[in-house]
Symmetry: D3
Subunit: 319 residues, 6 copies
């Protein structure tokens, strides 16, 4: 007999349920006290994450699961170290007959990826300078498959399926509004900077098609997405014969968009659009993280200290 | 015979001219070599500043001039330490017959102050929460005379006549656009924060009606505009009986808007609108300073290192 | 049959005892391995703290205990992760028949609170400037109930019952001696600064009447005791019509007493008494923490690294 | 005919006077415009310093003057770069017939050096631990000549004749009072630390008998007074056979008394008396510098930014 | 029957083996769940470290083992928290009949200590300045017993038996090569600095003859090896009558060799050989740590973040 | 009649001489007092720099001189602000008849540039990995003209003619010696890193053929030589089809060679050869700057504070 199913954010201690989860991490471990093997999971769905434990592991199951798998698990919700934990009784890989779609179990951008790509392409078409437009176009189109599902980060802001598209599109809208207020802004440069600035995150991190990042790549560690981005724009400019001044401006925007050296920018922004790119990036990241921080927070209460927000505790106002 | 007149930014070494200037600073000094007294001026007009020297000072003139006076000066442009200098032959206070308006000789916000105040009042009226609206209204109306001409700073961004109004209005427009993109933003809080955040600069600095700041006040030095702002909102809330939660939110926004402790904020932003207030403030300040930096800069060249922009040199792109 | 009773600092592994403890924290948890509920306590008495575990929890007991309760517990002392732990066999709330006073089980200032208050009032009376004296008087008298038991901190220095009174009184004595040596010190300002500087800790933190702080308040998090203190003095000055100069001096002392921006002071001390206030505060805090650090330390040995003392290890000299 | 004489702090632009000054610095220079040699002085007396220029230099006078000389100069007070300057008409070395004492022209500690030394010796005698007392005694007595006139610094706090004696004695008084309040303080250690902490400044800096420091010594630059102090105590302890524990405690106090590594302390204080030594040193230095800062400051006004006080501007309260 | 024996780096989960280990740490603890005592070990051999647990502890065994003991243990390799763990079935102290040498179970410098000492003595003999040579000779010879086995650190670089000798000798070779390239280098100073710089680590840390450091000494904590080094050279120079200049140069090199104040150097290098000493020390430490980091690292993969290398992850190139 | 000629380092106040100088900078200025134009020079020769003034400027001379010109000047040495100054009586451009070679008047590397290039080419040939060798070869040969005369910096270390060649060659020798001591070093990587690391300084700065840098390029400001270097290696690798791993390793070495983010390295070294490249670069720069600092320094004296050496004062030992 099937038990009730729940979303992770609805689980409470004592629940006994049948749930579909995405495996976000899995390790085979051995207990300290009696040398028994067990499987240590992190499960996720659209609403959050929970740790899961399978204490009796049949040999056949030891290597059955891997990251980004969709599984069906039966078990009980317990409490460990002030967090919920899922004690697994049974678990199996989801199959087609289940009629469930893995994408329904990962957090995804609130707009459809095809729609977002179309919108971004419209912004590209609005770039009047042909040299700049062609560079941006080439940079997007050469990654058009991966961009459909890539998140913008491993953790923190926009670490969701199609998060990169969503981050870029929202920044473009913001850039458009800012340029409406400050008339000296060159939107060709600004839009180009926004679209190019994080594209090489697709080579800096390994993501499954569910938008789950398992690891940074070697190249991501040794060079970083900023240097990768400069190199890639350079290669495209070589191919397209982009004039030197424009190439330099585009590369400077990528190079300086983290602003502080200790966050990876070897130079600080030296023209207006580079400066704005940095602030627009910050705003979009911070709005995402603040919204996430208060999502499950009672009005009138404070969150725990949040690492990605400078270890601040966030308050949900009673208004 | 009247000589030609020029704006400061048009003066070149060798010019001999009759000009109206605003006195931005004046000191009576004695030369080193021969014990003669001379007057050492900084003159300004809408286009910039120039140092001026009157080498022969009649006794009657020793105390004739003071800051914010409009004067008429005849003299020659020389070069000293790589900067232009104005060697004065004759100088007198401007009188009504000259038919010139001091306000035409100071840099002023590009919008009329009465128009800006009206626009800000419209934003105030759009605040739906009556408690918050009344606090903001009271804070603005009690300073409605001084706000017409106050700059937003002694130096750097918005250090121009009516600069404070202009800074606030531009930030409000920006806030409006941002709230159009991020639907979780509470515009009541955000508009209130924007309008209140710098109002006590009017007690932190002494400004003439031409928007020229001579000095920070004692209170400005010992308490700073952030603490003055919190105290003032507190006093208004006491008077209006504003509920505690709302009072706390407004005060937190003022307190946290500089973000970093070393820039005067003892707490960092702890809710979304406080965070956005900081970024909007930064953007408006930086756009102002970047525009100023490239105003007289040949495309394709770099400025000197600019103190208010983290000592960066700014580039004027050739596009 | 009653077992022997011991103070926490006297407990050694293997002891089986009956003890009275104050509950400093209690959580209902579930074990990892077998889903059983247990109660996880931190117990305290005058001599220290110990972790306590009740492994079998009758349903009726699940919510029986809360912070600041006095309980009687029987159990055995074990060792876990190099610390002592109290394994509870039985536990109940203390009742009147036990004839024990909760205050005997919390660390308390070494002087009686009524005596300390009297002493502080004498210092207030010694303030010759009537304006300043009336502000200080009002600030103390409006909190005269809570000040009897409030600690001066949640952790670290003076985190004991009536710790705030004790901190203030000791600082006053120190201030008096310093003023005896340096004749330019204005004791009116210095005593006022000492008495006012931490009063708003009573609104920054929630404390039970036993002087145990459970949490910082929302206001404490969003504004901090320094801004709360400035606001409160401002309100009192409004009421009493205190002259502006004196109000400003008092507020500056509160604002600057942590000295460093990153510790919450937006301005640094700008007159002598503000500077001295900071050093006197530091000395009194540090003496407390050093004494605490060596209390149970063998002469000739080093403590562990202590967070509140800049992570230093403290040495107990062999003299 | 003799002109009027004035103290430096009383000189105003236009004065024509005959004054005695101490030479604090003198350089022979050549003018830019006409290759003439001139003498560039800094003069001092008990009330301050003033720059002096002798524009016509007879060959015989080129090397006549050196630091710490007492001179008699006739001249006029002019203004240069917002400071007063003394234009010299005539100048000569002071001779015995003048009947003036150089010591009357340098700032000196407010107590007599012989009295201060006696007082310090009484503190030494009050040290009960014989080992410690003998080390301190030896360290003072071996420098008993130089300590009579040495300042405690080249600039800033206690940079006056006998400033070191005065600094030490005031700190001892302060230490005595603090120990009266905190009963766990070991006064043997504290007094020893206070007396020993800066003694090697007498080898770190070169001072004339007027207490004017011309330069740091090579050893002062390469090792610093803290390491010199440790070495010297070590040498004395070797000679006296001081037990290891006590030697270590004394050396640790010297080593840690600047607290921060970037101010020269490789270790932070690790016992109470070392911690207190640091704070007492800070208080005595800061009181000196605050008093100096307000000496010539109108009540209700702010000083310029003062380097030795963390670049703060200091306020002189109107009370 | 004897089981197979393995080196620690070869152990895999599931192995059941008989091994000799060095005890690097041992604690008697009590289990949380059932109050049973157990022994918690860290075992080591030439190839690495592993945690060991003896769950049933006969009373006689409770205090049988101590650090640096060689033991024979039978047990099974399990996994706990992603690390291997050794579950002990039997354990005993190694005896002579085992015919095993403790030194074969600790990591040791790759060169024989007697050889290294000989080489260092040759470098000493090559110092032409007799004063300097005699100081260095005395400093080495007075510690000639301990230097044979001391490591250069408790953790990190050269934390192996005779690691100090090895560190010094390798640095000397490096210094020799550098002096061959830069002809202005004074090898007398450089060799002296290299040999003297870390000698007092032998008083800063307690090491067994196996080169295992259990703890820093009290003196090591309160004074540090840099100050200890300066004092010791000072004492030797007193005895030998070394000229002041040379004594100062040697002491300055010791004092400045960590370069940064926050790493314990109160002064920065002020002559060439002191500067080089710092860099040579850095290179030798870093090469050691990089080699260690890649020792067990698959080419083409990254290590975990390594504390002693500024928390960097290290890459093992595929070449 | 010809006057005596001297090198700049030999000039003393009062000298009247005929000298050849290189113009390192020249500005046409106007005097403050009498509006006369004058030429303000910085002259240089192999031995140092001196400021020069031509007070009477014939119209024809106003634009006659530019940087890197060789001139012959007659004049007198005066003193201004404690520095020597050259008051020019006559000045003209040097002509062929003078028979002097401009290269004899600029500081130049101590080895011939053709010899250094040959030596570097030998190191390139010793790279066994063909892919790496070809990249390095291509990078050097494409700049083989400019590398003959480029300095390695605008100021500080190796700011001399052919300084870049000299810096690279000395580093290669050092790398060779280090690799002889540490056997795990891959010399292919290390030599490649050394040769490539600074090559793009030739695009970051504008240098005349005399090795005098007038300015950083726009690209040098906006991208910096590190990013330019990565881009250039990337372009060469594209052309040569260099395998990805090798390309990444070379680029990482360039990217990380300044080590600290605030000095321009967005990543820190992550393998041994990258780490060593940083230290070798540091040593070669520091030896250069220390040698320069003591060049004109009396033994037993200290230099002024030197900006490029962390503002240290450098000591010249008396040995």
């Amino acid at each position: 007999m099937e038990l009730a199913s729940k979303k992770i954010s609805d689980l409470v201690v004592g629940d006994r349920v049948d749930c579909f989860f995405i495996v976000k991490r899995v390790d085979l471990k051995t207990t300290n006290s009696n040398d028994k093997k067990y499987l240590d999971f992190i499960f996720g769905d659209k609403t959050g994450e929970i740790s899961g434990k399978l204490w009796e592991v049949p040999a056949a199951m030891e290597t059955m699961f891997k990251e980004s798998d969709l599984v069906k698990a039966r078990g009980t919700v317990t409490s460990f170290m002030n967090s919920n934990q899922f004690k697994i009784d049974r678990i199996r890989l989801s199959s087609e007959e289940d009629g469930v779609d893995p994408e329904d179990f990962v957090e995804t951008a609130p707009l459809k990826n095809t729609f977002m790509l179309d919108e971004i392409r419209k912004f590209i078409l609005s770039i009047r300078d042909e040299d700049i437009r062609r560079v941006v176009e080439a940079a997007v189109e050469e990654k058009v498959d991966k961009i459909m599902y890539y998140p913008a980060a491993k953790r923190n802001h926009h670490a969701i399926r199609s998060g990169l598209l969503y981050h870029v599109l929202t920044m473009l809208k913001l850039g458009q509004q800012i340029a409406g207020i400050y008339t000296t802004v060159n939107t060709d440069l600004l839009y180009a900077g926004i679209i190019l600035h994080d594209l090489e995150k697709m080579n800096e991190m390994e993501s499954s098609e569910l938008g789950i990042v398992s690891e940074y790549t070697i190249e991501g560690n040794l060079l970083g997405h900023i240097s990768l981005g400069v190199k890639n724009v350079d290669r495209i400019c070589d191919r397209l014969g982009t004039p030197d001044e424009k190439r330099m401006l585009l590369e400077h925007m990528i190079l300086s968009h983290h602003y502080e050296p200790e966050y990876g920018s070897p130079v600080k922004p030296m023209f207006l659009e580079a400066e704005l790119l940095h602030h627009i990036d910050m705003i979009d990241a911070r709005v995402f993280d603040f919204n996430l921080a208060v999502r499950d927070l009672e009005p009138g209460t404070l969150s725990e200290s949040i690492f990605s927000l400078d270890r601040r505790r966030i308050y949900n106002p009673k208004l």
